[in-house]
Symmetry: C2
């Protein structure tokens, strides 16, 4: 599926939204929530690592990894390397980000894994990992036969986009869950922090939409290879 | 974009998941939450109309409307009529479902439109309405020129799937938000009601995934027209 729109302008929108989302989540976690810390007596600083790393890793770097085939005027082999390295970074940041949430819960005696956000989050990171390993083995090293690559490619793209949409959806669940906790503890429902969190979630959704649009759009003409096979 | 899988078996999975989701949300709202009512001194019964109508309307009937072109062995004109009538029903149930949430808030002195769920919900219903009206005018009555139809079709499909994914995501936000409120008021985090709500959300996500897969799959061979143009 390719839509009749050029990838390059869409990819610029992705970059801009990514920077905006990252700035917004940092302003939230540092200015409004007191900063980030791996060890602290103020356990909420440990939690703050979670939204920052998930947004930066799984969503922003993961999104850039998805569009790398469409947004970069480079050779296929170089773009493939960028694609798999960015996804590896996204995956590692995602795992550390999830670990931070567990660390915060455990050190604050908060129950683990009862919420929909946590359930889908575990699902996303497992599927993301499986997708990365499958992609590495079939498309990079040792590499499958031509037939296996050809058969796998549309499913790799489709499954990857599914996991990514699930990750973006789950990020919105996380923003809503945390903000609901804060509002139940007295945070103003129409205050500046509440608006910032909701707009960060909206920017995250828009980022995801433009990543998908870029993935479905036409790669630059001078590039021979891309995943337009689907 | 069409994947090399037949639509019919996928569409059966959609029907089964739709029935399962409907039963689960009814068990939740009637057995655990006391039932549905348009007028009641127990205002929570008014709220209960909201998840039932949204899930039945926007998600389940909306999903069946999307796959009608791929799942039914009928003539194109008949399927088009089914597609637009089902989407109209979905839209009306969605509007009434949203109205029920406002009615509950207003009669219980709860603030309106502060949460991410409510913001995205308003966005979804507006986009759903615009999509329906555009589809009606261009593809049904009075109908656009052949060139306009041909140009519009892939965008109609893409935009429709985007709005649908947004609706499914927002349904999960709603389940999480309501359950978080209940858990903050003392509901057991690992109790049967919490598990029922979370699994209803999971079934909703699976339903959405199979709707998208069916929409991307191969229509039955005897059918000439479908939206495989994309």
């Amino acid at each position: 599926m390719a839509i009749g729109v050029k990838a390059l302008p869409l990819s610029f929108v992705v970059h801009v939204l990514g920077v905006a989302g990252l700035v917004m989540v940092l302003v939230w976690c540092i200015h409004f929530r007191g900063g980030l810390a791996w060890e602290s007596s103020d356990k909420s600083l440990i939690f703050n690592i979670h939204p920052v790393l998930i947004l930066l890793g799984l969503i922003i770097i993961g999104g850039e990894a998805i569009i790398s085939y469409k947004a970069l005027p480079l050779k296929k082999e170089v773009k493939k390397l960028i694609h798999l390295v960015l996804h590896a970074i996204a995956l590692i940041l995602g795992i550390v980000g999830i670990y931070a949430a567990f660390k915060y819960h455990n050190e604050s005696s908060i129950a683990n894994l009862y919420s929909l956000h946590s359930w889908i989050g575990i699902g996303v990171i497992v599927l993301y990992g499986i997708q990365w390993i499958y992609g590495f083995i079939v498309f990079f090293y040792p590499g499958g036969t031509d037939a296996i690559r050809r058969e796998s490619l549309p499913w790799h793209v489709l499954f990857g986009l599914f996991v990514y949409v699930l990750a973006v959806s789950n990020a919105t669940l996380g923003f809503l869950e945390k903000l609901t906790f804060l509002e139940n503890s007295g945070l103003a429902k129409y205050g500046s922090e509440a608006f910032l969190v909701n707009f960060t979630a909206i920017v995250t959704v828009l980022y995801g939409i433009f990543v998908i649009l870029t993935a479905l759009s036409q790669a630059p003409a001078e590039v021979d290879y891309s995943y337009t096979a689907i």
